[in-house]
Each structure stands twice: as C-alpha cells, then as structure tokens.
Amino acid sequence: MTVLEQPGSYRPTPPPAWRPRTDPAPLLPDAEPYRLLGTDAAAGLDTGLLRRMYGQLVRGRRYNTQATALTRQGRLAVYPSSTGQEACEVAAALALEDRDWLFPSYRDTLAAVARGLDPVQALTLLRGDWHTGYDPHEHRVAPLCTPLATQLPHAVGLAHAARLKGDDVVALAMVGDGGTSEGDFHEALNFAAVWQAPVVFLVQNNGFAISVPLAKQTAAPSLAHKAVGYGMPGRLVDGNDVAAVHQVLTEAVRRARAGAGPTLVEAVTYRIDAHTNADDATRYRTDAEVETWRAHDPVDLLERELTGRKLLDEDGVQRERDAAEAMAADLRERMNQDPALDPMDLFTHVYAERTDQLREQAAMLRAELDAAGDTTPGPQEGAQR
C-alpha cells in the first residue's frame, strides 16, 4: 500500500527552522532627515562646539571659494568643490578622536583640512605636483581617493586590523551618492557588518553624480535604507545641519567604538557648485533648483541659530570672516609659489628597492636632465641678462 492510497496519512517533514537573522525594524532610518538647528532640541547643544563649528564652516566656505579661484589662475589643475556641503565635511572631521582615521573621497579635501591637515599639502593631488602630499599617518587621514568607493573597503580593513590589535580606533569613510552604486560600496558595507568592524560610512547625497541625478542612481527608498540589507543601522540626516550631522556621526562613532558595529549615515545635502571647475552644471539642472538649496545654506543655518540665540553678534561674525580671509590669503600666497619638483622622484617610491629596469630608466632621465641643464645659460651668462 502506498502513501497515495492512504489519504491523510502523509505528513511532510517540516523544513529546518527559519527566522530572520536580525530584527530589521531598529535598523530602519527615520522617515525624515534628522534636524537640530531651528528646533527646540538645539537649545540643549554644547554652545562651545557650535561656535567652533561655525568658525570651521566659515573658513570651509572660504577655502572652497579660494580653491576654485586658484583653478582659474592655473594654480590648481582641478577642484571638486564642496560648497554647500561644508556641514558634512566639518562634522565628519569633528566627530572623530585624534586616534581615529578618516577616509576621504576626492571631494573631501575640506574634511581633511578640518581634521588638521595643512591646506596646501591637502591640495597636492589637485595641484598635481604629487598624488598624496601628506603622510597619512600624521593626522590619520587616508589619501584622498579618486576611484569611487574604493576607499571604503580600506576603512573596513583598517578598522578591523585596529580591533584585532586591541586598539580603540574607529574609521569614518566618506562617499557620495553616485559612489553607492559601485560594487566596492556593497562589498565594504557587507564586510563591515559581517566583521562588526568599527566603521562609520558617511554618504553625502548631494543630488548628483556629476550630471546624473539620484533618481537614475537608485530605486531605494533612501540611501540610508540600504543599511538594512547589510544588517546595520541606517541614519538619515539633514546634511546642511552641522549640529545634526555631528550628533548622528558622533553617536555612530561611539557605537562603533563600543563594539556595536558599523553604521551607514546618509546626509542629504546639495552640491551648489558644478562637479568641478571643468563642469557645466547648467546642462543638467536649473538655477531655480540651486536657489532653493542656497536658501538652506549650512553656514547660514548655523549663523541664524547662533545669532538668534545671542550666542554670536556681528562682531563675532566679522571675526570669523576675518580669520577666513587670513586663511585664504595665506593659501593664495603659498599656492602662488611654484612647488619644488624633482623629476627623479618618479622612480623613488615605485618599489622599496628599484628594479634594474627602473635604475636604467632613472639613469636615462638623469642624463636627459643633465643634458638639458648643459644648454641652459650658466650663472654668469644668466646674470648678464
């Protein structure tokens, strides 16, 4: 007699037990970007910190305009401005302790400077006298990264290594909305979550990947929602509200440091300038759209908060602007000096030790340089002219 001949006697074996690996509910971002400035909650904020951030924002804005001006004077090869995004840049730098690491993208020169990097050294890549102009270990700022999102796995690896060594170090990695489409974004978030690495991912959603708007980049409810798929919390924050970004990042850093794993933060902001000085933004967006964001300017937002609460007066505003002008003047002056170049550097750091082939090529270049030197006027001849 078969099973089929015994109606009701067949009991299928139940499949192995299944349950979700993580409760997704607590990982979900808020429905609206988190805001502090202009809300009642702002009253409880550390006023010293707000003043410090204000100074950084004013100087940051001036840094952006000065760097953009330097491209017109041929002193910078290119500058991807973060005008309009200064709140994210400043908050990222200030959310970290000295021992922590920052992993900036090419648009995040300002975050590196806000972390203490020399403004001229930070611009080496964009001036073009070398690639990375600073020792990353000095301020724990990884090289400004040009290939999109490829620095994110580095941040994960570094944070993982620090934890393996027993060090209390957090890595904060910065990426743009376009970068979230890259495979490395996915792999980095997945590795970070699986390893519970002390990493914070800050996505500056500035609306555009050069010319392509976010709608053509993703169908996700928000970029912060992507976190849920990796099993980490996603936070959505107003990227022009420096107090809110700072608070969200500080909380994510604290969480990472406590061993609770990574966080993905999406800061909603806007790229006021074109992609770089070489880009023409009028081809893909309207002035009216830009104006709506100018009305939500990160520097103005904080300035209104501080002046409204009598924490800053006109003199205070002027003092910060003067400090920013002094910084810009110093930057101008230093950038107007030609960088010292040594063509032989081309061979110095390719390997720990030069290969025979590189020794041969270095000798060739040396001979070319020497020969060129022979044809230039000697000191006496030159002095006569």
Binding site: H131, P153, V156, G157, A159, D184, E187, N190, F191, T355
Partner: protein, 372 residues
C-alpha cells in the same frame, strides 16, 4: 648521529604542502601576518594550501571572508595601512579579476602615491594556469595583466623548494607581490625537509635549471617541467639546451637571461599565456635589444594560442608541450640560410608548417658553426 640521519628529514613533499608550510612558518614568525580569503578556514582552501592554519592560529589570523574579491583585497589594503601583513588567497586566476581595480589602483600605487609613507606588504596568492581539466574560468594565465602594472612584483615558482622560499620572501617583502601558483604543479613532488627548507635565491633572481650550450629555453611556472622534458628529449637530436626558470617576472632577471643567451646565441621563450601581447613579447624584445650581436636566430616564442582559454577536453591543443618546444628549437636557424616557415609569420612558434625535427637536426649536423 650519522650524516644519513641528518638528511632523513628530506622526504617527498608536494608544492601545495610547501606553500602551506611557508604560510604556517610566516604566521608563526610574525604575528602581523594574516591570511584571508574564501574557504581558507575550516576547508583549508580549495587546494588545501591553508589547511590547518585556522586551527593553529585562530580565525582572526586565518579568516574566511565574504565571497567578494575586491572586498578581500580592499580590506587587506586597510589592514596593511594599519601595519599588518596580509596574505590574500584568490580562489582561482579568473576569480581574481573582481579585485583588479583594488590591485591596480591602490595596492600597486599606494607606496608611490604616498612617497613611501604607506607601503603595501600584501601577498596576493593566485592559483593560475591550465592543464588540470578545469572548466571555464579555472585555467587562465593572467600574469601579463600584473606584469603591466608598475608597483607589483610578479612571482611564479616551479619547484617545491621555490614554492616555500619564494612565498616566504613574498610575505616578507614590503612591496605587494602577486604570487602565481601553477595549479598543475600543486601535486608535483620533490624531496624536501620542512624543518630545514633549503635556501633559495630571493625574488628577482632567475635560476638555471639545466646547463646547456645550444640554445636557451626561457620559461617559468608550469612550463618549466615542460622545458626540462624538452631539453632531455633534445639531447637525442643533438641539442644541448639550457633551461632558465625565471621564478620572478617582475623584477625580471635580465642579467641571468642575457648571460645565457649570449653564450648560446639562440633562445625560445615558453609560456602558457597567450602570445600576442604576452610576456614572451617583452622578454624577446629585451633579449634582442641586449643580445642582438650574439644572436644566431630570432628569439622565438612558444605560447598558448591567442584564444580564450579552451574547454578542458581541448586544452591539450592549446598548452605548449614538448613537441612544440622542440619544433621551435628546430626553427632556430641551424642551417646557414634561414627560410621563413610557410603559412605566414603569424601564430606561435612551432605551430606553423615547419620542417620536421629530423630534417632540422640534419641541417644542424651539416651546419658547422651550429654550436657556439
């Protein structure tokens, strides 16, 4: 203790075992050495090279990662930034391609980018090459991609002793090393003492595997045994072939190669990788540039065809074998007058309709100035 007792530590070991021992010893000697990759933990890697490492050193030192090669190598970059010495296993040659951007854009450039502030002491182990009956994507010879990337060292062992010695050297190197492990030599054996591994030359030195006077076979990795066999077979044809095992493609040991070719006056480069734009072109060009007046014949190449790697049931037609090597040797202008083989100049050496080897040997016998 007799001398014999001292040498009894030498017993047959496979290349895979020697590689595993190198990893183990490196991890034991240096706590900053970390192994990471797919299936390297409990499984011991698909080729069992990492067998036992997770058990001995813990999962923090030998880590099964998520299945994502760019993520593995990208994480290794960050680990190296923090002072660790990662050894990454790519499961197969073709599965290393997703990590290519990390390798080319970051691993290879980081030292130079940061003026030496951030060296990348990363070893990327890549099981490579064909001849194991692998289905598509399991048999590529990808060395040319790595060779064409300044900042990387590219190493390929061919012997058990070199597998150990070169892997130790790669891990100890402060530069990134792409370590190509010839899959079909994984189970090749040699007498070897794991407790007393013999000293081998470092990265960047070639080895003369067989001394000879008639012509030089320049090769590496899985083609070394092929060339050794060809050299043995050539004896009966009257040729005394020298065989050079490059061991390291970058740095390239021009000195050893050119010294040999200047003595023999003839050279054939042998590798599995495709010929057009392959390593052999670079090697032939270098040898020609530096040894022109010593050459009795053009430097020839015996390579894989310029085709996507074939399916396993056809791969024997693609891989350079002993006959093809001997055919190429036969074409090294042993006669006083050189005639181009029929069928045009295209295609890897030995593939065209060349003279029968015996005819060539006859020509060799008749050519008085044949041996330098």
């Amino acid at each position: 203790m007799t001398t014999a007792a001292v040498t009894t530590g030498r017993k047959p070991a496979t290349m895979a075992q020697a590689l595993g021992r190198a990893l183990r010893d490196a991890m034991a000697d240096d706590p900053s050495v970390h192994v990471l990759g797919e299936d390297v933990g409990a499984l011991g890697g698909v080729f069992r090279v990492t067998d036992g490492l997770a058990k001995e050193f813990g999962e923090d030192r030998c880590t099964d990662t998520p299945l994502a090669e760019a993520g593995i190598l990208g994480a290794a970059v960050g680990m190296a930034m923090y002072g660790l010495r990662p050894v990454v296993e790519m499961q197969f040659d073709a599965f290393a391609y997703p990590a290519f951007e990390q390798l080319v854009s970051h691993v290879a450039r980081m030292r130079n980018r940061t003026r030496g502030a951030m060296p990348m002491p990363i070893t990327v182990r890549v099981p490579y090459g064909g001849g194991i009956g692998g289905v598509e994507h399991h048999s590529d010879s990808s060395e040319i991609y790595y060779m064409a990337t300044p900042g990387l060292h590219v190493v390929a062992p061919a012997t058990v002793a070199d597998a150990y010695g070169l892997l130790r050297a790669a891990i100890a190197s402060d530069d990134p090393v792409v370590f190509l492990e010839p899959k079909r030599l994984y189970w090749s054996k040699a007498d070897w003492d794991p407790a007393r591994p013999e000293e081998v030359p470092g990265i960047g030195r070639a080895a003369v595997r067989r001394r000879g006077t008639s012509a030089t076979l320049i090769t590496y990795g899985p083609s070394v045994p092929v060339c050794m066999e060809a050299a043995e077979a050539a004896r009966s044809e009257g040729w005394d072939l020298e065989v050079i095992d490059l061991r390291s493609l970058v740095p390239f040991d021009e000195e050893t190669v050119c010294a040999s070719v200047r003595r023999t006056g003839r050279a054939v480069v042998v590798h599995e990788a495709t010929g057009f734009g392959g390593p052999g072109g670079e090697i032939a060009a270098r040898v020609t540039e530096r040894c022109f007046h010593h050459l009795e014949a053009p430097v020839l190449r015996v390579t894989g065809f310029d085709i996507p790697y074939p399916p396993p049931m056809l791969e024997q037609h693609h891989l350079p074998g002993v006959d093809r090597v001997l055919d190429a040797v036969a074409r090294l202008q042993w006669e006083s007058e050189w005639t181009a083989p029929s069928g045009g100049s295209g295609g890897p050496a030995g593939v065209n309709d060349v003279k029968d080897v015996k005819d060539a040997v006859k020509g060799f016998d008749e050519f008085e100035g044949g041996v330098r």
